[in-house]
Amino acid sequence: MSETLRGLYLLQPTLFIAGAAMLLLVVGAFSNGKRDLRLPALMTLLVAFLLQILSAEFSTPVTGFGGLIIRDGLSDYGAALLLVGLFVSLLLADPWFRREGILRFEWYPLVLLSGVGMLLLVSAHNFMTLYIGLELQSLALYVLATFHIRDLSSAESGVKYFILGSLASGILLFGISLVYGFSGTLDFSVLAHAIEGQEQSAVSGLIVGLTLVVIGLGFKLSAVPFHMWTPDVYEGAPTPVTALFAIVPKVAAVIILARLMLGEGAIISALGVDRVLWALSFLSMLWGALAALGQTQIKRLLAYSAIGNAGYALMGIVAGTEDGLAAMLVYMTIYLVTTAGVFAVVLSLRSDGQAIERLEDLKGFAQHHPLVAVLLGIFLFSLAGIPPLAGFFGKFYVFRAALESGEVILAITGALTSVVAAFYYLRLIRLMCFDSGSVPQERPIPAEYAGIMAVSGVLVLLFLLAPSAPVAFAQSAAASLFP
């Protein structure tokens, strides 16, 4: 098989989505937006998921296109997670957009294209692929943030995201060019070999370049101090888009960071740049917990929750071990499931034809919707890391990995900040259950939301019955970086 053909074979799910996205764009444009593209879009993701699973290469990593891309356990795990996340995001978005009356057909191709970017990112084996994947994802997401064009705050959030994202892209690109300048290559494996036996002066240049790359990726992950866009964008963007932001892109960003840090040659940890990740993790956990304390908006609160969770995920990478990587993957998986559940609840909150976005309006929620309140309570307890829910195990695995590799300060910080974080999650529960309020809640809850809530709730509740299955998947994925 020629190199090109192999590359095409390896990349088939991504390419399938790309093709489908263009097709949907054309269909949408020609039908003047009348045709409902939801089912085709969902089917696309489903097929891509099957293609990804069927062509999965868990045993040995395979590169394609002359080393531009790689398929290994990690990329397959990441891709599967991303596709599930995109699928859930599409399901979550539809009823909300329809109720608000702002659904337009571009939504589907844009989501799919951002998905193409993320899939490229998780299988990048070259800084060029990395950059293209990241930009493809980001461009689609910038547009999505402004999706509600008549809404000022949505437009504002899109612009903020775009400008700061451009700055981050500039930083990333500058870093890549420095790496190329000092090593003469963009390929990860070649770079890994080049780093050994470099002159001291050249090493400094590589360090600067790689630090800039990490910072650029840290922006996408909304790691502190490159997180400032997150609360504003989360708040301003239409809620389904916020859900998409919260659920999906982080997965791609942490996986490419993990590959850079722990993959072949351990590019960034060999040069000591992993300390940047340490700092990002430390600051994110701290900031995410503290700044969330006085928030009054549900979406801003979730933004800080996302920032804090990025810190916990990074801790698994910083641990630098196979267990740490596996713990990070489990953590992200649980986070995805829990966040999907939370957003299903948040999106279903409506009163007097308006979406509810203030925490205040949750008062007395438990009386109107006892079952939904119980589910939200379960999700929040899980996010707070209360046993026996899934979130506890996610945190536990990460902390354990960090402790085993000697990252005591990070582990302690993580434990302490999760105590602080528990406060604001529990405050939400208090608002729901113990404060009385008179905001009537609309019924019925759309079936999509009910279904996602139920599935998430069951997964979060029952994780403890069979924790070994997801952990085993994550471990086999993590093993691909540790041959």
């Binding site: 903020k160 700061l164 930083i171 400094s204 502190v224 300390r275 900031w287 006085g294």
Partner: protein, 699 residues
């Protein structure tokens, strides 16, 4: 299977009644009463079919840790079978009685569930085959007792009494827990069957502590006895029992007379082979038991609350049981335990019947001449009292107490030791007092005409106390209490007007005898009070004792059996004579020479006060323990907890978090250029740090 049913049916009743009976009163009653009656029936079957060798049914393992292994098991020998019968029969009677007694209460399902739960714990206690399970039942009955004393939790006095009972029992339980630890250290096991045969082997073991050496078994037995003292309200740890009368009367009858308080006696008897090897511990038990018998009887002489009199009487009778055990007459102790359960429950339930008839009036000074109004209650109280005094004709027939108390006094005499003689002397004096206070109660309540002036002043006193209670009540309770006080005030006024018309019977114009559902249990218990002594004295303490008990209790040093019936006549009749003296004194003072009563009370005002204040035990404890503990607690609460831990710990940290959170939020200005600046600042700082740290490491 059978024995397991006896134990678990009450638990089932408790759960069922508590869960399904919340809406429906009859369902709540039925779900508790039926399993309880069934359990009692099965207990009798167990009693009648008890095999020679003990039944041991293992349910499942409990703790396995190194050499320490404990299972949940049901162990039934003769001793357990006695307790099974006593507990389930009295409990069944009380359950039925409670249906009537709690007729107007708001939460019958809670009451019935607690009552059944208590019975389950008590049965678990007596059927334990090891110390840990016994401790489980021990704590369980403590819990049930706490819940039931404080059942009317809107009454501050009931809450205080419940807490007092719990705390005082903690003192005893600490001793018990330490005793169990001592047992484990000595024997390496906590299973009765493994320990008891080895008692003689460890009799010589010494423990060294602080340069002194102690006899290990004696120390252990004394610690265990402290546990027994707490539960069985022996002198020193008795202070909770009279206050426990704040609970509903069925509770007093079941828990604080017939069953739970006898757990200590049961424990000593269960461990009799151990105590037999620790003579000093036995002497302590005998002396303390005798003193308790005397102390409680003396206090009962002057109390005015009908339930408290009977409570002190219980305390006194428990003293008898302990000094019987202390002179190695375990059979006599168990015999008195069983007979006492019947007649004391009868007394309590009879008193409860009087109390309900008088709308929860408990002060005997405001009663009088009720014999015609409440004939059945009167009969029950008379029968119970006579059984308690121990009336009978030697060699022909006697009420329950006649046989059991005689056996105790005879055992004390037959012990032929200074301690035995002391116990006998004290026991006889206490018997005189017992007869006296019993008669005083009966006469004042049923036969003497009501002293209207005194009754009025008592009511005024009570109203004032209630007002005090109202003032000390807070918040939501405020209104309720005020309403209650209003109601009782009005009631008091009504009866006062009626009283002023002259004839004493007018004061109780509306008084009716209790319903059948309350009288039937009285009749049943009366049968026990009449016949339990005459039927079983041969088995418990007589010729058939050896076959009857088998190895269940230690009969090796039983003084009564050793005496082989060679007890002088004067010893045999001495309790009867003591009772007769007491009765005669009471009749003389209350029927004939009433003026002398007042003279005596004023002449010996100091003594009267001393007795009325229960030998000042509560005051002494308040000064010695409660207030100092309170003060230390205040110091730690304000100085330690609030100003140190809270201030620098939770409160300090949380306010620090809130402040830093607020500060961080201020950084989130919303301006794009601020955000970009932050990103670049972060970049520069991180870059500087990395470059510094990596190059510093390289050089």
């Amino acid at each position: 299977m059978l024995v397991a049913l006896v134990v678990f049916l009450p638990l089932f009743g408790a759960l069922a009644s508590g869960t399904f009976g919340r809406r429906n009163r009859s369902l709540a009653n039925g779900l508790a009463v039926v399993p309880m009656v069934l359990s009692a029936f099965l207990a009798v079957v167990v009693w009648l079919t008890l095999p020679e060798t003990p039944i041991r049914q293992e349910l499942f393992p409990f703790i396995q840790s190194g050499g320490f292994a404990v299972s949940w098991a049901i162990y039934v020998d003769r001793l357990t079978a006695v307790m099974f019968c006593v507990v389930t029969l009295v409990s069944a009677a009380v359950h039925v009685y409670a249906v009537g007694y709690m007729q107007e209460d708001a939460s019958p399902s809670r009451f019935m569930a607690y009552l059944s739960l208590f019975t389950f714990f008590m049965l678990a206690l007596v059927s334990a085959d090891n110390f840990v399970q016994m401790f489980f039942g021990w704590e369980g009955v403590g819990l049930a007792s706490y819940l039931l004393i404080g059942f009317w939790h809107h009454k501050p006095a009931a809450n205080a009494a419940a807490v007092k009972a719990f705390v005082v029992n903690r003192v005893g339980d600490l001793g018990f827990a330490l005793g169990i630890a001592g047992i484990f250290v000595l024997f390496g096991s906590v299973v009765f069957e493994e320990i008891l045969p080895l008692a003689a082997d460890v009799a010589e073991v010494q423990w060294h502590f602080a340069g002194l050496s102690f006899d290990a078994l004696t120390v252990t037995c004394l610690l265990l006895f402290i546990g027994a003292m707490g539960k069985s309200a022996q002198l020193g740890l008795h202070v909770w029992l009279p206050d426990a009368m704040e609970g509903p009367t069925p509770v007093s009858a079941l828990i604080h007379a017939a069953t739970m308080v006898t757990a200590g006696v049961f424990m000593v008897c269960r461990l009799s082979p151990l105590f037999a090897e620790a003579p000093f511990a036995l002497e302590v038990i005998a002396v303390l038991g005798a003193l308790t018998a005397f102390f409680a009887a003396s206090v009962a002489l002057v109390q005015n609350d009908i339930k408290r009199i009977i409570a002190y009487s219980t305390c006194s009778q428990l003293g008898y049981m302990f000094f019987a055990a202390g002179v190695s007459a375990y059979g006599a102790a168990m015999f008195h335990l069983a007979t006492h359960a019947f007649f004391k429950a009868l007394l309590f339930l009879g008193a409860g019947s009087v109390i309900t008839a008088l709308h929860h009036q408990q002060d005997i000074r405001s009663m009088g001449g009720l014999a015609k109004k409440l004939p059945w209650s009167c009969a029950a109280l008379w029968l119970g009292s006579l059984a308690l005094i121990g009336v009978g004709v030697p060699g022909v027939f006697g009420l329950a107490g006649f046989y059991s108390k005689d056996a105790i006094i005879e055992s004390a005499w037959a012990a032929h030791s200074p301690i035995g003689s002391f116990a006998m002397a004290v026991g006889l004096v206490a018997a005189v007092l017992t007869a006296f206070y019993s008669l005083r109660l009966l006469l004042l309540v049923f036969h003497l005409p009501q002293d209207t002036a005194l009754a009025a002043s008592v009511r005024a006193e009570q109203a004032a106390a209630q007002l005090d209670g109202e003032h000390s009540a807070h918040g939501a309770h405020h209104h309720e209490d005020a309403k209650e006080a209003d109601a009782s005030g009005a009631h008091g006024l009504d009866s006062h007007e009626l009283d002023s018309h002259g004839s004493d019977s007018h004061g109780f114009a509306g008084v009716r005898e209790s319903p059948m559902v309350m009288l039937l249990p009285l009749a049943f218990l009366a049968l026990g009070a009449i016949f339990s002594g005459v039927f079983y004295h041969h088995e418990f303490v007589g010729d058939h004792a050896h076959e009857f008990w088998g190895d269940a209790i230690s009969l090796a040093h039983d003084p009564l059996l050793e005496a082989h019936g060679k007890i002088p006549f004067w010893v045999k009749v001495s309790p009867l004579v003591a009772g007769a003296i007491g009765i005669a004194l009471a009749l003389w003072l209350f029927m004939r020479n009433t003026a002398l009563r007042t003279t005596l009370a004023t002449r010996f005002a100091g003594l009267h006060r001393f007795l009325l204040h229960k030998w000042f035990f509560d005051e002494l404890y308040a000064r010695l323990f409660v207030r100092p503990a309170w003060r230390v607690g205040e110091i730690f609460f304000h100085g330690g907890d609030k100003n140190t831990i809270d201030r620098w710990g939770p409160d300090g940290v949380s306010s620090l978090m809130a402040r830093s959170g607020a500060r961080l939020r201020k950084l989130q200005t919303g301006y794009l250029y601020h955000y970009a600046l932050w990103m670049l600042l972060g970049l520069v700082l991180l870059m500087g740090w990395i470059l510094f740290s990596t190059t510093a490491g390289a050089n």
